[in-house]
């Protein structure tokens, strides 16, 4: 092979490689996801965060929540929220008590948003997602009332819920950046 042919082949190969690379980057990366709008996800997306994002419209008070709680929740959590087993206690506890503290919504949970988020996605355990948004607000209010955090006529909605300061709000150390 002459020098000339070699040089030509080299240029040809480099050109091919460049084309090949561009082609790989642009054409072989699959993009099979279908566009969807947040509006189309409004029933699907149940994430309700501490910043207020993701909460549905609606509201409720503890006075309204008592009936829902008594019929849908009390079988496991008891009428008073004192629970029927270790994992179902919703009220009481003191993080600074002697011995191992009783960790409940009132004594331990740092954010009120978590209460709404969890009830809406996972409760009642035998029929999750069977409560309406109004009922979730009402039960959220009632559990907060049982813990002495709101009074029975406080209206709980997106704005008032995320404004609530839970007793243990400063009780957590974020380790998420520790690798």
């Amino acid at each position: 092979m002459s020098m000339y042919k070699r040089a030509l082949l080299f240029i040809f190969s480099v050109t091919l490689a460049s084309i090949g690379f561009v082609s790989f980057a642009q054409d072989t990366v699959l993009k099979l996801g279908s566009p969807i709008s947040e509006e189309q996800l409004s029933e699907f997306d149940l994430i309700a965060g501490p910043d207020g994002a993701g909460f549905p419209s609606g509201s409720g008070s503890a006075a309204q929540g008592k009936q829902v709680f008594d019929t849908r929740c009390a079988a496991c959590h008891a009428l008073t929220g004192e629970g029927t087993s270790g994992n179902t206690v919703l009220v009481g506890g003191d993080m600074h008590s002697e011995g191992s503290p009783l960790r409940t919504v009132g004594s331990y949970w740092p954010h009120a948003s978590t209460l709404f988020d969890f009830i809406r996605r996972a409760m009642p355990a035998d029929a999750p997602k069977s409560l309406t948004s109004e009922e979730v607000y009402q039960v959220t209010a009632y559990v907060l009332y049982l813990n002495g955090i709101v009074d029975q006529n406080t209206v709980i909605n997106r704005e008032t819920l995320i404004a609530i300061e839970m007793p243990n709000k400063d009780g957590f150390i974020d380790k998420s950046q520790v690798r």
């Binding site: 990366v29 699959l30 993009k31 099979l32 996801g33 279908s34 566009p35 969807i36 709008s37 947040e38 996800l41 699907f44 997306d45 149940l46 994430i47 965060g49 501490p50 910043d51 994002a53 496991c76 029927t84 087993s85 994992n87 179902t88 993080m95 600074h96 191992s100 503290p101 960790r103 919504v105 331990y108 949970w109 740092p110 954010h111 948003s113 978590t114 988020d117 969890f118 996605r121 996972a122 355990a125 035998d126 999750p128 997602k129 009780g171 957590f172 150390i173 974020d174 380790k175 998420s176 950046q177 520790v178 690798r179």
Partner: protein
């Protein structure tokens, strides 16, 4: 082979690794000899060698003689239908890969029966374009296969209780397993949706009845997290998240959300129930650690282990598993005298990052009492702590994320039990 030629490397009977089978010491077998034949009987052709057996089948089953190997599950909890856990039979398993049927389970509302043709994976929130993916489409993406352990952060928690439970490797530590996970790097799917620079977290939600959710930091999500579709070569088992699960290598098991159906990019964590009320650790000053992600450097002798019985004096192969959420296992030391002296165990060389490693060391039991321990060191230099060190560091108010050294006491009758030293 005589006793005098055994090379002792640490107290109370630990022997050099070179006495392991296949490591250049043929004579070890003579010390370990058990009579396989009856004293007088010659060896006969067995009955199964005289009749043809069943032929090939469409789906394989294990030997009927190994059906005793079962996951150990608690009693059903009527309060939480489908909730609970089952534990891998660690003492009966060898190597480092957990068979799918014996991989540990933890469910918060049971196992959903998902039709893959109806299942959707949504990416929304702080992205250029929210997207929805079908299962069939996801199968077309380039995939990677990685061997990784998975460990529930509640594993081994009972060791921090005041008195030692009468338990086995399975009952005390069986919430760890290891598999080859095959799937799509999460970064590829997030790139397709276009990550907004304001996104700091990815909230992952499952399609189970609990819609279990966890928040994953974006840097982890863009690093080594998979949307796993296959487990040891077959589609992910229903109890592990069929048709797909998140898999966050090295991190507490709960964050590898099963039955994955939503990934929402957010600027703050979502503060789900299972990252606030649960899987958090309260310290003596009553503050609580949240988002403890990497699982600690850890090892465990699986044989001999709790509730076993040594039925003869002589040489035993001490073996177990080691793992770290921060890298690979560099070293495992074993003690037979409760931590007074240590010897290096042999580690199988084909181990990978954030995966189980198998270690072995020969040990001569002469009929006395012994306390067997193992201590792992990972590739980052992290050393597995003693139980006392863990308790001094974090107190007794919570039991997640425990990776302390396990002590197995061998008594003069050969019984093996969980003890604290």
């Amino acid at each position: 082979m005589t006793q005098e030629k055994l090379e002792r490397v640490a107290g109370n009977g630990l022997l050099s690794r070179r006495h392991l089978l296949g490591m250049g010491l043929a004579g070890a077998g003579s010390v370990m000899t058990n009579s396989a034949l009856g004293a007088d009987a010659g060896l006969q052709i067995p009955s199964w060698s005289k009749v043809p057996g069943p032929g090939a089948s469409g789906y394989g089953n294990r030997s009927s003689h190994t059906e005793y190997m079962q996951r150990m599950s608690g009693n059903p909890n009527p309060i939480y239908p489908g909730g609970g856990a089952s534990r891998s039979p660690l003492a009966e398993l060898q190597g480092t890969i957990t068979p799918n049927s014996l991989h540990f389970e933890r469910h918060h509302a049971g196992i959903p029966d998902i039709d893959p043709n109806m299942h959707k994976l949504v990416i929304n929130g702080l992205v250029r374009q929210p997207l929805v993916f079908d299962y069939e489409d996801l199968l077309k993406y380039p995939m990677v296969s990685k061997i990784h352990f998975l460990e529930c952060s509640g594993n081994s928690g009972s060791l921090l209780r005041p008195s030692p439970a009468d338990g086995s490797a399975q009952s005390l530590h069986g919430l760890v397993s290891c598999a080859e996970w095959t799937g799509i790097p999460l970064s590829a799917l997030l790139d397709e949706a276009g990550v907004d620079p304001a996104a700091q977290w990815v909230s992952a939600v499952g399609a189970d009845a609990a819609s279990m959710g966890r928040s994953v930091p974006i840097d982890k999500a863009m690093d080594d997290v998979l949307v796993a579709l296959f487990q040891n070569g077959e589609p992910v088992r229903p109890e592990q998240g069929y048709p797909m699960r998140l898999f966050c290598p090295g991190w507490e098991g709960n964050i590898s959300v099963k039955w994955l159906t939503q990934l929402k990019l957010t600027s703050e964590s979502s503060q789900f129930r299972d990252e606030t009320s649960k899987y958090t650790d309260t310290l003596p000053d009553r503050s609580s650690l949240q988002f403890t992600f990497p699982m600690g450097t850890k090892s465990l002798i699986t044989s001999p282990s709790g509730q076993m019985a040594l039925n003869r004096q002589g040489i035993y192969q001490v073996t177990g598993i080691a793992w770290s959420g921060r890298g690979s296992i560099r070293r495992v030391e074993v003690s037979a005298d409760g931590g007074r002296s240590w010897a290096d165990a042999e580690i199988e060389s084909h181990q990978s990052d954030k995966a189980l490693a198998r270690f072995r060391i020969p040990w001569e039991w002469s009929g006395g009492s012994a306390v067997l321990q193992s201590r792992a060191t990972d590739s980052e230099g992290n050393v597995q702590p003693t139980r006392d060190a863990v308790l001094a560091d974090r107190g007794r108010l919570s039991t997640y994320h425990n990776h302390c050294i396990q002590s197995w006491a061998v008594n003069s009758n050969g019984g093996v039990a969980n003890v604290y030293v």
